[in-house]
Symmetry: C2
Subunit: 293 residues, 2 copies
């Protein structure tokens, strides 16, 4: 019987937080304000789903868990950077994130912009310093950069902003989700395979897994935004629809969105079945569609 997902998430969060604590400057290190701001957003009660994916991939492929943890930490730094910048007044202008004031509400806009910048740069520093001798360090770094850039996460955020008020269509919402969310979740799955020097077929399987899982994850996020209470989610709900954001439920309805998320999770599971020796990757895929927050 595979390890329960809750246990994997807990294990990955502990390992990832320990790694982040080592690689991030202390809040007391000068310049203090930016280090405080970085830690405020990185240690804010996230689920650490991406580090759990990275750790599970490493364990599935026989890559050292330390490599999985470092890859997961670097992806989590990029994720934190994107949330800090997405919340800025010039972007989504959000005051709350995970039930707490957003970074710029606490530290001001200038510090929030620079803290996001610094988290992004730190992600690459962590990979280059902690995995400098890993066989596939350069391809792993290139993968993380591409996943974060204009053909990945940052490009998705641009499309998301430009899409507000446009007529929502399935191809557009799917491109946005693939770039804005799935690219980085894919990176969490692919990085440990690349860094650890896994065979090309394993890398390809993790790529397919991460893409399907990432898209499924975002569709479920859209559904939860429509159907949950703010208490359940720890943030405002129904905001995507109010803002004219492209979401799956807006385009196809909640029921069809749920079915699509389920099919994608199955696709993800199919892709990794030959490699998933502990069953953890398939369990994560099931968790992503069944979660309630």
């Amino acid at each position: 019987m595979p390890e329960p997902v809750a246990e994997l998430l807990r294990r990955a969060a502990i390992a990832c937080d320990a790694e982040l604590n080592v690689v991030m400057p202390a809040a007391e290190a000068e310049p203090r304000r930016i280090h405080e701001a970085m830690r405020y957003s990185v240690f804010s009660g996230g689920k650490r789903l991406r580090p759990a994916i990275a750790l599970a991939v490493a364990e599935a492929l026989g890559v050292s868990p330390a490599v999985g943890t470092t890859c997961g930490a670097s992806v989590e730094l990029i994720h934190a950077f994107s949330l800090v910048h997405d919340d800025l007044p010039a972007m989504d202008d959000d005051d709350l994130r995970r039930g707490r004031p957003t970074n710029h509400k606490v530290y001001g806009e200038a510090v929030a912009i620079l803290a996001g910048d610094a988290l992004s740069v730190l992600a690459f520093e962590v990979l280059a310093t902690r995995l400098g001798n890993a066989p596939g360090i350069a391809p792993a770094l290139a993968e993380l950069a591409r996943a974060s850039g204009t053909l990945g996460m940052i490009g998705g955020q641009i499309l998301d902003l430009e899409g507000e008020g446009l007529p929502p269509t399935l191809p557009l919402v799917e491109s946005i989700h693939l770039m804005k969310t799935a690219a980085l979740i894919r990176a969490a799955a692919v990085l440990p395979a690349l860094a650890g020097g896994a065979p090309p077929e394993a890398v390809a399987a993790m790529r397919a897994y991460g893409t399907a899982l990432g898209l499924s994850f975002q569709i479920v996020d859209d559904i939860l935004d429509e159907t949950s209470t703010p208490e359940e989610l720890g943030k405002g709900t129904g905001k995507d629809r109010d803002r004219g954001k492209m979401t799956y439920p807006v385009v196809v309805g909640v029921e069809a969105a749920r079915q699509r998320a389920g099919r994608l999770a199955l696709e993800a599971s199919e892709a990794v079945r030959p490699w998933d020796r502990h069953g953890a990757l398939q369990a994560l895929a099931a968790f992503v569609v069944e979660r309630r927050s």
Copy 2:
């Protein structure tokens, strides 16, 4: 007789621009607006001093000029990212840069923030993809990340913002300049040495050279801001003093600042003399203090 600095700058600019043109997405590639915005700020008539330093270091150490050019292009991407973000309304709130409207004036704040983010990420992608097989790729990547982060450029910008209105002191202005400007100029000198696998003494010499040259460069920048006309500089002048920014002339006066810049350029030259087989590095140091814009 060494190659005239004007010729080195011209050669480096041509090589760097060709490299940037290859590695940056085309302005017509989707999402167009961010690719246009990135190109707007990268191709904006900068001197390409950092790529010239990187190319000269490569040539001095017998590292392939292609490695020097890629290192220079990656440093230039970080430099462009920092200018786009520094000009934002929440930071220095500048409308003009090199005689043209700043990025956020043309493309809006959201796109400018994301374009800066994307330029930063692209710098690491370029190193990892173009120099993936270089012997010292991981140390070079780590060096660029550290130079850009909170103990380098980004940290310097925080101190610079926090310093506005504080009583200017020499230790504070020197820390700001070392972090905000010298760290990245040092990276331009150190990256080709690291990536090319140069001996540790050569790396150390380039580190000393880049630090002294970078500090000298920023002091001269401060002096030019005080003593030039806007036409000579292509941007507003006297703005640093008006804003209460920490500058060398404000702390020690123009004459003493000029002397300090000259001494630092000599220090830089001393550090590289044993390695500077074509004399280009010493010529660059002399150029930095003699320039008029």
